[in-house]
């Protein structure tokens, strides 16, 4: 696909993804990173829907905004407040 055949809405979706990915990488605080990553996931959902793959979009929605943040959150909670005798586990 060349740039000339790109619809405006597709350009916007691609641009949001291109902006979102570095935003996730550049977030230094893990908690902020989860939130930013959630928004990045939503831009990917938008991209998939615009390109005619709503099924993939739905999967991305539930994985990117529910399952993945939960796993990262519990990992952070574990690291920040270790149980007794597990202080060296990082």
């Amino acid at each position: 696909m060349t740039l000339a055949t790109l619809l405006p809405v597709q350009s916007v979706a691609l641009a949001l993804v291109a902006l979102g990915a570095p935003a996730v990488v550049l977030s230094r605080d893990p908690l902020k990173m989860i939130v930013v990553n959630g928004f990045y996931g939503l831009t990917l959902v938008l991209l998939f829907v615009i390109y005619g793959a709503p099924d993939v979009g739905l999967s991305m929605l539930v994985v990117g905004t529910v399952a993945y943040p939960l796993v990262v959150l519990v990992a952070i909670a574990r690291v920040r407040a270790p149980k007794d005798g597990e202080e060296d586990e990082k």
Partner: protein
């Protein structure tokens, strides 16, 4: 490793992977340029033969239903593995004090629980009409359950988010898939053959016996995910809430 060395390693790697990426992109077919026959065949047959509008789910739950059965048991086995690894012999903790103070969180969260579960049920029910189906709908239902923990606290969550409640539901979902497949065998048809006829296309009653396959997948996925969330919460959040 100093910053200088790190950057010295990073830049050549970036250039190398960047060049490979650009090279790969110059070779891909243009958007919508699909050559294979399989997709065209599915597109032609799924509405007239199976009475399903959503070709994706016609493929996953009917025409290649046996693959999806394998996937379902991958999830089943994975969740059982997590539960076995994280099982706490001390039993469930009912004494965790983590009451939610914010009224805004309570009100909007409670509304969001209903919305999430409703959307999940809608996604499963309309699996053969619109995008969605058992897997996506199941996770949406489970996320509604997880919201209960966020809104009400651990005690309310643990009333239904425990193995005694969820294990049978999960097993019924996973086993139901196989039972529907075997029912076709009993009727003298190949395993997992769609044996009810198509039903009314464009409604929740379309899909024939694959509709039951879709629902059993939805039940299994929802229960498996709630169980997964439950084990994570039990293992990681409860010790912190207790302050130990």
């Amino acid at each position: 490793m100093t910053r200088r060395v790190r950057i010295g390693l990073f830049l050549p790697a970036l250039a190398g992977f960047g060049a490979l990426l650009v090279w790969a992109y110059t070779g891909i077919p243009s958007f919508g340029d699909y050559q294979g026959p399989y997709g065209f065949v599915l597109e032609k047959i799924s509405a007239p033969l199976r009475h399903m509008d959503n070709v994706v789910n016609a493929t996953t739950y009917d025409i290649r239903g046996i693959d999806t059965m394998g996937e379902e048991f991958i999830l089943f086995a994975a969740v059982i593995g997590v539960v076995l690894l994280l099982r706490d012999d001390a039993g469930r903790s009912q004494d965790v004090e983590d009451d939610i103070g914010s009224d805004v969180v309570r009100v909007f969260g409670t509304l969001a629980i209903g919305a999430a579960i409703l959307v999940g049920l809608w996604l499963v029910a309309n699996g053969f009409v619109t995008p969605g189906g058992g897997f996506q709908g199941g996770v949406a239902i489970a996320s509604g359950g997880l919201l209960l923990y966020l809104v009400a606290g651990y005690r309310e969550w643990s009333a239904f988010g425990n193995e005694t409640v969820l294990d049978p539901i999960k097993a019924i979902g996973a086993g139901g898939y196989v039972v529907i497949g075997l029912a076709a065998l009993v009727g003298g048809l190949p395993f997992l053959t769609n044996f009810f006829g198509g039903g009314d296309i464009g409604t929740v009653w379309s899909g024939g016996s694959a509709g039951f396959v879709n629902w059993s997948a939805g039940i299994e996925v929802a229960a498996a995910n709630v169980l997964l969330f439950s084990e994570f919460l039990e293992e990681y959040i409860v010790p912190i809430a207790r302050g130990s």
